[in-house]
Amino acid sequence: MASEGAKTSAEYIQHHLKNLQVCQDESGNWIWNHCSGNFWAINVDSMIFSVGLGLFLAWLFSRAAKKATTGRPGKMQAFIEIVIDFVNSSVKGTFHGTNALIAPLALTIVTWVFMMNLMDLIPVDWLPWIAHAAGVEYLKVVPSTDPNITFAMSISVFILILFYSFKNKGVGGFIVGELMMNPLNPKDLGVPKILWPLVCAFNFILESVALLAKPLSLSLRLFGNMYAGELMFILIALLFASFFAGVAGAVLGLGGIVLHMLWAIFHILIVTLQAYIFMMLTIVYLSQAHEAH
């Protein structure tokens, strides 16, 4: 908001990209928003919105489940059935083991990420303005533009990948068989035994990078897409600032409305696609953790 020169555009953007944080200072007092560099700071807005959306989904699904009928379904039940059918067929098409965790996990991921992304479609100033009126200085409403949230999700998935890899392949099977004997298999290449450790070390470095890239790419893809989308909305919002300041400002403002709408429509696709990709890759990674090479 650059009105009356109270804030420059840069300040406006920076203000929008700042989380509402809380942390303890050196003397142990809880303080707001002066937490940079403090690992133990908590992004209160991300927490509230992500947990709130999660609870909303849990409430929605449990309500639909309780009211579920084997007869003609209501609209909500029909919709949730379509979503569950979709997730289930995605899991069945990709994951061929037997694991009762995968489908519910995929459902949780796709709906939760979708809802968090969907917050992006709410005009960027609405909720911060309400928060401001209530005395809260910073508010970032899209949890998936916070790398803490996306990393939390991808690291959870990563822990599951490791758990199932060790569980299904054994410690030796996973570390030696999968991480050291691939992609260059010294046995197949006919390397003399004395050089095996060298080849294995080389493989281990390659495979470790590939393994670690999974959670990293998973979270950064989502974060990057949503952050860029949010930034676009903020930049478009700057066009509105001089709405009532002459013809040029009005034209700019009208252009902003058109752009905002176009970007929002395009964002429907991104929101859905990113949720789908996150779910699909989770299924694929966990499927790999179940399969022997």
Binding site: R72, H132, G256
Partner: protein, 156 residues
């Protein structure tokens, strides 16, 4: 952060966007949902109809079985009656036949006896005439002594 044109611009854009969603995003979604609802309702109705027609068929089956059983009983009864009739008829015919055969046989026997008696009578008469001729020693003219012979034969 103050209320300014940014908020108005965003609100207008949001309204347009919501309108767009209502116009182009919501209907296909709702269409999908309603299609599914109709599909499920139709499926349930078809299942219901199937169950009902099965029930109906069951009732129909029982009815037909009962009918068939009744018919069979009737037919058996008829056959029994008919068989009794035939047997009785046959018995009557046989009795009549026996009677008839008996009567005719009796008549024949009587006829035969009569003829034999007649024959015997004539032979006796001849023997008597022969005897008499031998006794008398001359030929008796059968013509002249017809009366005598006839008398003789009648007396025997």
């Amino acid at each position: 952060m103050d209320l300014n044109a940014t908020l108005i611009g965003q609100t207008i854009a949001m309204i347009v966007f919501v309108w767009f969603c209502m116009k182009f995003v919501w209907p296909p979604l709702m269409g999908m949902i309603e299609e599914r609802q109709i599909e499920i309702a139709d499926g349930l109705a078809a299942a219901d109809k199937g169950a009902r027609s099965l029930e109906l068929a069951e009732v129909e089956k029982t009815k037909m079985l009962d009918q068939a059983r009744g018919q069979a009983r009737e037919i058996i009864e008829q056959a029994n009656t008919r068989a009794g009739g035939i047997v009785n008829e046959a018995r009557t015919t046989a009795d009549q036949e026996r009677e008839r055969i008996l009567v005719s046989a009796r008549a024949e026997v009587e006829q035969e006896v009569n003829r034999a008696r007649e024959e015997l009578r004539r032979q006796v008469a001849e023997i008597a005439v022969d005897g008499a001729r031998k006794i008398i020693g001359r030929e008796i003219n059968a013509a002249t002594h017809r009366d005598l012979l006839d008398n003789l034969a009648r007396e025997i």
